[in-house]
Symmetry: C2
Subunit: 461 residues, 2 copies
Amino acid sequence: MAFIKPSVPKGTRDFSPTEMMRRNFIFDTIKSVFRKYGYQQIETPTMENLSTLTGKYGDEGDKLIFKILNSGDFFSDAESKKLKDESFEYNSKSLLPVISEKALRYDLTVPFARYVVQHQNDITFPFKRFQVQPVWRADRPQKGRYREFYQCDADVVGSDSLLNEAEFILIYDEALSRLGLKDFTIKINNRKILSGIAEIIDKVDNIIDLTVAIDKLDKIGLDGVIKELIERGFTEADIEKIKPVILLEGSNTEKLASLRSALSTSTTGLKGCGEIETVLNYIASCPLQTAKLELDITLARGLNYYTGAIFEVKTNEVAMGSIGGGGRYDDLTGMFGLKGLTGVGISFGADRIYDVMEELNLFPAASNQSTQLLICCFDKKGEQFALPILQQLRKQNINAELYPAGAKLKKQLEYANNKHIPFTIIIGSDEIESGLLTIKNMETGTQDKCIPEQIIGIINR
Amino acid sequence: MAFIKPSVPKGTRDFSPTEMMRRNFIFDTIKSVFRKYGYQQIETPTMENLSTLTGKYGDEGDKLIFKILNSGDFFSDAESKKLKDESFEYNSKSLLPVISEKALRYDLTVPFARYVVQHQNDITFPFKRFQVQPVWRADRPQKGRYREFYQCDADVVGSDSLLNEAEFILIYDEALSRLGLKDFTIKINNRKILSGIAEIIDKVDNIIDLTVAIDKLDKIGLDGVIKELIERGFTEADIEKIKPVILLEGSNTEKLASLRSALSTSTTGLKGCGEIETVLNYIASCPLQTAKLELDITLARGLNYYTGAIFEVKTNEVAMGSIGGGGRYDDLTGMFGLKGLTGVGISFGADRIYDVMEELNLFPAASNQSTQLLICCFDKKGEQFALPILQQLRKQNINAELYPAGAKLKKQLEYANNKHIPFTIIIGSDEIESGLLTIKNMETGTQDKCIPEQIIGIINR
């Protein structure tokens, strides 16, 4: 029998012990910050009813949802349908609802909305929840884009206080600082400011065209943006009016003052400015550890659903897309019939954060997740001598291993090296006789003589 | 537009914050014990190629695998096939391989075997890995049986030392003790002993019939077992020979002595006895914390793949099936073409352990995962006063929340109660003026006057 070398489906990944240690470091850090701010973890099933997901992500999104084949004789319903109705055609579109009723989670937001509606009577609002689970998308895989990847989301629903927005800025600052990032920017904007800009030129219906053009300022410069605006049907007069908005400069306070003056005729625009000011005031009373906070009115992500604050986080140390984002939406649960529940949320891009940390060499060399000591021995006598010492160390919460007797010492030490185990002890007949052990620091090469009770002190030194 | 109350697919579950806290307590405890014994975490993708999974779980198992519909125009390949070959029939069996090439993980063992073969050149053997991930089975859902559930597995491959078996017993003992279980039994058997029993009556081919009958001893007693053995074609003479084996009594050492004498004509049987003795000797030198260790020759799980040790764990405090199990298999990776790699592994039944702990009230009331302090305030002034205090506490790793200004105090305190937050501070105008706060223990009702710097001392008291 010939075997094909086994592989994983394209766009999916195995995670090795080293990768898992690093991923856990990222996830554990983010989770502990979420918890520190009062967010509670939930989990939802990998599979949702197809009806829960369909129509929530647009036509393109619907195509990218992985559908699950009904179990058992999945085609029999299609056959009955055909028997009853000759005109029923066997094609992908008509068969899909007949042979599939479940699908893989596409993001964490829709399942969260479904969760809130389903469990609304058991939930205390404001509900501050976080969720760290994989999602699946039938996207074309490419560098940095996977078909299975984790999302790390925190959302609060049922509170319109801008304190929540401020706290998300603090959460980004604390989590990314703890991961070791030294230079990153949290960009903040407000959907109402974007609406205001469209209002002052009386082009409310063209807000998408407007923001798509403005968003390119970084890439194509003012002249490019103006050219694009004209192509998209904006007039010279429009452009004169919004130019000061596009070219905002100075501190956040200075930008806000210019905005207020430019948007003075738009109630919505001024409301957006007021919201930004409130958030900035909160932050003024609790200084950020590392993050730069920047009002950036070119930021226009999630315009289809965000109604207030919009966030995006970028590292300034490495060329990389955004490593986080979020915003406020006034109607998360409306899609499931529960109206008027406002929410605001953020997300960390764990895979990108991983790549940034790898490039900057920010992962700790070892962690409390790895083995700290390997005991090597030659024979059964060595094992019997070592086992109680080993258990004593484990009782004191040292991660320790005993290499089973029988292997050559070289192989045992290779094992320690490959697993990056920092300390080894070799048990030979001398050690058994004298009770005096030699503990070796595998990195420095230093050796210490000690009795078993002293091992823990040397490891923790 | 009418909305149907949203729900999750049958056999799947949402996990609320309280449930997550408890599940995390179980998983974190088990993981930390795995790590203490030198096991390293890996993760494999949720989806595997259908060819990786098919044929590994028997015909019944294959039916229970959830298949994923190919994305895009999934039916077009079937249509082309039909065009080329009129006799191609549209039915579930012939369509499955055409419209689906991926499936959801059914257990952690087959993906692990695939992982080992795929990454064999990067792995240091013996490879001690653990894996805690959900699996999916299209089983009929019923009480305690779900279509999505977590498995917690640890396996070592590439080492035939029985030290590994002994360490798994220590791992069960430590993890379950730390979860608070006070009376549980780790049952151990050896496939070679079962083979030996079949050998001494010259019925090697009937080993399944034999073990199925013996396995029922607890339920149907000796007479029942004898009746069943005769029904299954065993003779009176056979039964005379194996009766002493079925009726083993006394300590593990006494049982082993009786077994040795009964199995004296079977080399395999004696080898099994020797293996059990070696494991017992290891354990003798490192006493178990809580577990009873019991040689139980009626234990016959996984007979199709286990070749040496067989484990099963049962709680004696609650009526419940096994809460863990495992064994040694001599050929894990043969199915993917890598022969001769021996392994041994165990699994914790997390869902059942959850139920046991709930019934015995073993979950800690609070945990470091919950909010420890809620600051309540009445207005923006209160918020501004509270925010720096809040951030100071968070800096010292206290999980703390500030309820956004504007809500009635009753609602804020209800929030604290529902979230089981143990301490509250109310910021009114007096507090802002004097800087003197009142911190209330929500459980005892005790109130303390303090300045902000003293809060942490009171919380940690």
